[in-house]
Amino acid sequence: MAILALVLGLLVPAGAAAVLPDEVLEDPVLEGRARDLSQLIRCLVCQNESIDTSNADLARELRILVRERLTAGDSDQEVLDFLVARYGDFVLLRPRMTPANYLLWFGPLLLLLIGLAGVVLYFRRRLPRPAQGLSAEEEAQIARLTGQDRESE
């Protein structure tokens, strides 16, 4: 049981939050939402860190901004939209689906379909073709050829 708890504890990444005490909201529900949101927002200075874990000045200001907007009654989506309007989709650590990146989202599916089509084509060609009778034209051709042969004999 202790080992299980240890393994579970290791599976959950320890939150190395950079949130300073003076930033924390009094309302635990709002603060929880702010923490969750902060983990989805990229720190534009460090670029591979969320603003929740970054110590950069800009990250701190963005954390405060997120909390201000939540306190003012913004929904989570409104807060994200606010930041995307300024910094573009790049500010989101979890990419959204937009027409610009459809290829990225559906590319693998597309490749799979191309592969499947290739396999189907390949096997259809390897299947023995069903014996087809001769067409009328071919019959006529044979008749003509054999007839000619007989005649020439």
């Binding site: 800009l58 200001e61 300024r86 910094y87 573009g88 290739g118 060609r125 071919e138 042969d149």
Partner: protein, 203 residues
């Protein structure tokens, strides 16, 4: 008697059946080569072109400049900067800088040149800086700015989508953001991008 005659006929017929593989199917063998060429080309593009992967794509291009009203530097003889100062029929550069920012020092002479004879208003926003430091910095190296706003918490900078200093925006005559330059302006940036853009926007 008829046998020798029919034999060559059937032979040629089976031959034409095996040859019936349609041409587009044969071309499929080239597909892996094509995929390889595309992928290799993509990697080559990433290696060879001197693009900077750290650049954040601009979201505000062709949008009106954000609303802001920044106070002047205390004890400095230039007014502050607000949205109302942009546009007004003149092209303007808005340069975000700080006294603690080394690359700002590098681009500073170019801003001085632009302010002197670039045919453009050079406006400044002091980013997260102490007024006395900004004052001393501008006193020491010269002041290219017609107006300087103080953005002590960086909120206006966030509204501009600024991720660090220095950054420079080209604002057209109607107050719209037309270009965002991230990092210090170098001679080549000014010659290749800024000056031609100012010229075309001033027409």
């Amino acid at each position: 008697m008829t046998e020798p005659a029919t034999e060559p006929a059937t032979k040629s017929m089976t031959k034409s059946l095996t040859r019936a593989t349609p041409l587009p199917c044969r071309a499929l063998f080239l597909l892996p080569l094509l995929v390889f060429a595309v992928v290799a080309g993509y990697f080559l593009w990433g290696l060879v072109t001197d693009r900077n992967p750290n650049l954040v794509p601009s979201a505000l291009i062709d949008k009106p400049a954000p609303t802001f009203d920044l106070p002047p530097i205390e004890g400095f003889d230039r007014p502050g900067l607000a949205t109302a100062d942009l546009g007004n029929g003149e092209v303007a550069l808005v340069n975000f800088f700080a006294s603690w920012c080394l690359p700002c020092r590098a681009e500073h002479p170019f801003l001085m040149d632009l302010a002197e004879d670039g045919g453009v208003r050079v406006l400044g926003i002091a980013y997260r800086d102490r007024p006395e430091d900004t004052r001393r910095w501008l006193g020491r190296f010269g002041n290219p700015y017609e107006r300087v706003g103080v953005d002590d918490r960086g909120r206006t900078s966030i509204d501009f989508g600024v991720s660090g200093v220095p950054e420079t925006f080209v604002i057209d005559r109607t107050g719209r953001i037309r270009y965002q330059h991230i990092g210090p302006l170098m001679a080549s940036d000014i010659e290749d991008k800024i000056l031609p853009l100012i010229e075309s926007l001033s027409e």
